[in-house]
């Protein structure tokens, strides 16, 4: 039986986390993700889980480190300035190869910025953010339904690869209400023999360390991590493409921007412009090969982001600068309209001499 519930994106992540078996949440309130922490405060005690409002984002992410090390499915959430504070802990979680889910419902930055939607944390999410050579797996939903689906998926792959997974949303997705179906979300339990549970019957203690004073040992650890990242790039890339087969111009956008891009593409198609849309669902690993293939026949690419241009660099790298990559973005929490994007499309077609 399929039954849909009308829910805010933030709440959908919370409910999906509970479905995924997450019983531990540590966080600190910040706009525009507060509905998520509030949802967990209400929901987790109903399922004998633990909700704890930490004294800071730094404490929250370190509670996540402890709980993840202890073998639990655990989540934290925040928005841009709060996620900056969590970066120290994220680096340690990646170094300790601990699975957890971190939600960033992005707002405008830098600094305190604003509380309206933004996508300016792309570099931070996909290129590190904390110190050292590590990666979070980064997934970018573009609907409330997908926020639920990718949350369950995030817990599954976090455990499978022993790696932090970040759900990168934005204020628009967090706040918007859409029908969501929570049925048939596959929860894959993973054994954690490495967890710190107390030695019990084990002869040897389980110890989660990130200090490696021996440079050779540290390099060995880094090489192991890089092997895992290579495997992720091979196996865990997700994307969606629409009308790319005959497209002369391919739009590239993720999250809320991809919804606007979709409407702009429909407008353009109505007017006879051959426009397609490529939407990365995993931002790290970035769907490089798929994008290169999707734009193979196109003359140009237009990347759309609620930032001054961050993913556009990955788009250029993916297609190896083989054709012009245009960029259009808004910052400050300003949203672009489908008409704005359509105007950009018209301009690009005009510069290359018509449709």
């Amino acid at each position: 039986m399929s039954e849909k519930v009308l829910m805010k994106g933030n709440e959908a992540i919370g409910e999906a986390a509970v479905i995924a078996g997450c019983r531990y949440y540590f966080g600190y309130p910040i706009t525009p993700q507060s509905e998520l922490i509030e949802y967990m405060a209400k929901r987790l005690p109903q399922v004998q889980g633990v909700f704890l409002q930490a004294e800071s984002e730094i404490a929250a992410i370190n509670m996540v480190y402890g709980a993840a090390g202890a073998g639990a499915r655990v989540m934290t959430s925040s928005s841009s300035p709060g996620v900056s504070l969590k970066q120290e802990g994220i680096s340690y979680i990646a170094a300790g190869e601990l699975p957890c889910v971190i939600v960033n419902i992005m707002r405008g930055g830098p600094g305190l910025g604003g509380i309206q939607p933004g996508q300016g944390d792309y570099f931070q999410a996909t290129k590190g953010g904390g110190h050292g050579d590590y990666h979070c797996i980064v997934v970018a939903p573009n609907s409330v339904q997908e926020m639920a689906e990718l949350t369950v998926h995030a817990f599954n792959i976090a455990d499978q690869y022993r790696n932090p997974v970040m759900i990168l949303g934005d204020g628009a997705l967090g706040q918007m209400m859409e029908p969501v179906d929570f049925h048939d979300l596959p929860v894959i339990p993973v054994e954690k023999p490495w967890a710190t549970t107390g030695m019990g019957e084990r002869e040897q203690p389980n110890q989660i360390d990130t200090l490696r004073l021996n440079p050779e040992k540290l390099e060995e650890v880094n090489n192991t991590l890089q092997k895992k990242y290579a495997l992720l790039q091979e196996r865990e890339v997700r994307w969606e493409e629409t009308f790319t087969a005959d497209a002369e111009l391919v739009l590239v956008a993720y999250g809320i921007s991809s919804r606007i891009a979709y409407s702009a593409m429909e407008l353009a198609r109505e007017k006879g412009y051959k426009v397609g849309l490529f939407r990365p669902i995993t931002l790290w690993p970035f769907p490089k090969a798929a994008l290169e293939k999707a734009v193979d026949k196109a003359a140009a690419v237009l990347t759309l982001e609620l930032s001054a241009g961050q993913m556009v660099e990955d788009v250029n790298l993916a297609i190896r600068c083989s054709k012009p990559v245009h960029f259009y973005g808004r910052t400050g929490g300003m949203m672009m309209s489908p008409q704005d994007v359509f105007d950009q499309i018209v301009k690009i077609f005009a510069t290359k001499g018509g449709k």
Binding site: A59, M63, Y65, G66, G198
Partner: protein
């Protein structure tokens, strides 16, 4: 028939220590391990080790453990304890870790009445990074970052963490001890045992501050260091029980 009266505790690993000569971490590790053995909790104890000289403590304790980022041990311990409330979770922290960068974490863990035990080793100086000023450095004490002595006018006065935490309702047992002589070692072990028992009984947060030496960074011999501790540190950091839920001082 020969009877073995003294042996390495089961909760300690049989390896050489990296600590400097005269450093008291070894004694404190041993007391913690003896307590774990005596309480029969080795198989259910999870330790959280800090950043600082004792970052390698997990090489010495034969128990499950996690290393925490600088100052974050009480938050990490909170995460572990909430997942495994039946286990015994303790943090082992130095003065830079707990009283500077990690002050918020320990204050709030205590305020929440987090059912963890904290062993706080106060030697009035940063050890691992090479003898810089700590929040517990004494006024006029010379360190690498207070080369003219800690100035009250600019660096303020040493933090008495035990007294500070004792004001919080969630803190159920707070004691300051030293291991500078055999009598105080006995008292220190008793306090550590009580701090673990408070957790096992599910009563709340417990902390034992151990006033200890750092001969290397104090620039003193181990014997001189013990003398300096007694004459200078103990007046600033008086030993005793600062909080006990039964009100026994």
């Amino acid at each position: 028939m020969a009877e073995k009266l003294f042996a390495r505790p089961q909760s300690l690993v049989d390896v050489s220590s990296h600590y400097c000569p005269g450093c008291q971490h070894g004694i404190i590790h041993r007391l913690v391990a003896e307590v774990i053995d005596e309480l029969g909790i080795q198989k259910k104890t999870i330790g959280v080790v800090p950043v600082g000289c004792s970052v390698l403590a997990d090489q010495y304790f034969n128990i499950d453990s996690q290393q925490a980022a600088h100052g974050r041990a009480p938050a990490v311990a909170t995460g572990i304890k909430r997942v495994h409330p039946e286990n015994v979770v303790f943090t082992y922290q130095g003065d830079g870790d707990i009283a500077a960068i990690g002050m918020a974490e320990v204050v709030h863990a205590a305020a929440r009445g987090e059912k963890i035990t904290t062993i706080f080793v106060n030697n009035a100086i940063y050890g691992m990074t090479g003898g810089q000023m700590a929040p517990t450095t004494l006024v006029n004490q010379v360190t690498a970052t207070s080369p003219y002595g800690r100035q009250l006018s600019s660096a303020g006065s040493p933090i008495r963490l035990s007294e500070l935490l004792a004001t919080l309702d969630g803190a159920k047992y707070i004691a300051r001890v030293s291991v500078n002589d055999p009598a105080n070692m006995t008292k220190a072990k008793k306090a550590i045992k009580t701090a673990f028992e408070v957790q096992i009984r599910g009563e709340g947060f417990a902390l034992v501050e151990v006033v200890a030496t750092c001969p290397t960074n104090w620039g003193k011999s181990p014997v001189e260091a013990k003398k300096w501790l007694k004459e200078n540190m103990l007046p600033q950091f008086p030993l005793g029980v600062y909080k006990n839920i039964e009100g026994v001082q």
